[in-house]
Assembly symmetry: C2
């Protein structure tokens, strides 16, 4: 098997600072975790909040702490630091090679999508962002790592795209259409969703948008791990 991960991330229009923070961390017992946070409001303050949450979470994950416990700890730390006045969404997607599973932790009103081949399942059970109460806990889904599995998660910039013009994005339909027509790579899927959203906002994203796609495919080729990053600079 091979796990392929793709990220596409854009800032709110005319904003040099994104309130979204995304980091990838290696798990000490094998595998890796993608951690995505979106701090309340936008600009520098939101960035500081989402960076603080992501740093807390990846620090704990790197020590071997379980995903759910790391999310709770980040929530409590944010609550303590900001007196419950600032919220932050958090998604963790982990490839756990110890258990052979993909673990999704969600503290985000925005749903995550779990797809088996072209069967799309929208997971939108109510879920609270971090930092607003004492007893925050994540919604957790644990899935067998097997070829054909695709998961998609994102920040609310995607959900809100087009709302300004009364044309909100139907994310589920967009995913379904892509998966039915072709066998898109994770990067094609992430790019396509992001482009769709930016177009609905007439090329000027009303919020930061980050999209993460993970796909499990049959293994072809060597055992080399690869990573590519593209960072445009203004």
């Amino acid at each position: 098997m091979e796990v392929q991960i793709a990220v596409a991330k854009v800032n709110k229009y005319a904003s040099s600072e994104s309130g979204d923070t995304l980091e990838v961390v290696e798990r000490p017992n094998g595998g890796l975790s993608v951690v995505l946070a979106d701090g309340q409001t936008s600009g520098r303050g939101a960035k500081a909040v989402s960076m603080m949450v992501v740093r807390k979470v990846i620090g704990l994950l790197a020590e071997g702490v379980r995903d759910g416990a790391a999310a709770r700890a980040a929530s409590d730390a944010l609550y303590t630091d900001k007196y419950g006045r600032v919220s932050c969404t958090l998604n963790i997607a982990s490839i756990d090679l110890e258990t052979g599973t993909l673990v999704l932790s969600r503290n985000n009103p925005s749903p995550v999508f779990i797809c088996h081949d072209d069967q799309v399942d929208c997971v939108d059970v109510e879920s609270s962002p971090l930092g607003i109460r004492r007893d925050i806990r994540p919604m957790i889904s644990e899935l067998e790592l097997e070829p054909g599995l695709t998961i998609i998660m994102y920040t609310d910039g995607l959900t809100h795209a087009g709302k300004r013009r009364g044309q909100p994005m139907d994310v589920c339909n967009a995913i379904q259409a892509m998966l039915e027509e072709q066998d898109p790579t994770p990067q094609e899927l992430a790019d396509s969703l992001l482009t769709h959203a930016v177009n609905l906002d007439e090329g000027r994203p009303a919020d930061d948008i980050s999209v993460v796609v993970m796909k499990v495919v049959p293994h072809e080729g060597d055992m080399v791990r690869r990573m590519t990053i593209r960072l445009p600079i203004q």
Copy 2:
């Protein structure tokens, strides 16, 4: 401009754990840093050392600490923890958007390569790994971020490839040949160097090998940040 980063990483033959650790961290004042460490010996002990060093460094970088200071701190922490008995190499390559520069910090006997178009410069000034003395400091190169700049860094698995059979790899020549013949993408460059090394080891790498390539190209297209990861699972 756009900065493109590629990583190719393979474990020592028949070893499930790599002594090399690589992580990417966002810099709080803009840009990102790639941190690569190789712990002494191989297997689980080496992994623990390189993870400890990388965690220390990225934690400090995320707080805004300068690269050189982070490397010194990691060296002192390792020295204290292991009584000076365990060494670890460290390379940091930072895209610093505050200064508009690419900053290379090296605590590694293996050289780094700095290329302007097809002009290859091998930087091999003597440089000590972390953790073996109290006064360890990194060799630092600061380069203007401009199209045509390519930097290549790697762990010593690449340098040692083929030595077992008396056919050591000539990394400089391999890079020169690739850059003269074509305009390779960073991933092509990284993959090609890794493949060359693995072939010299007859398909059974004698050590963990990690190769990082950063390239600055003229900017084409949108302002979307992208990342792709491929993780083969046995």
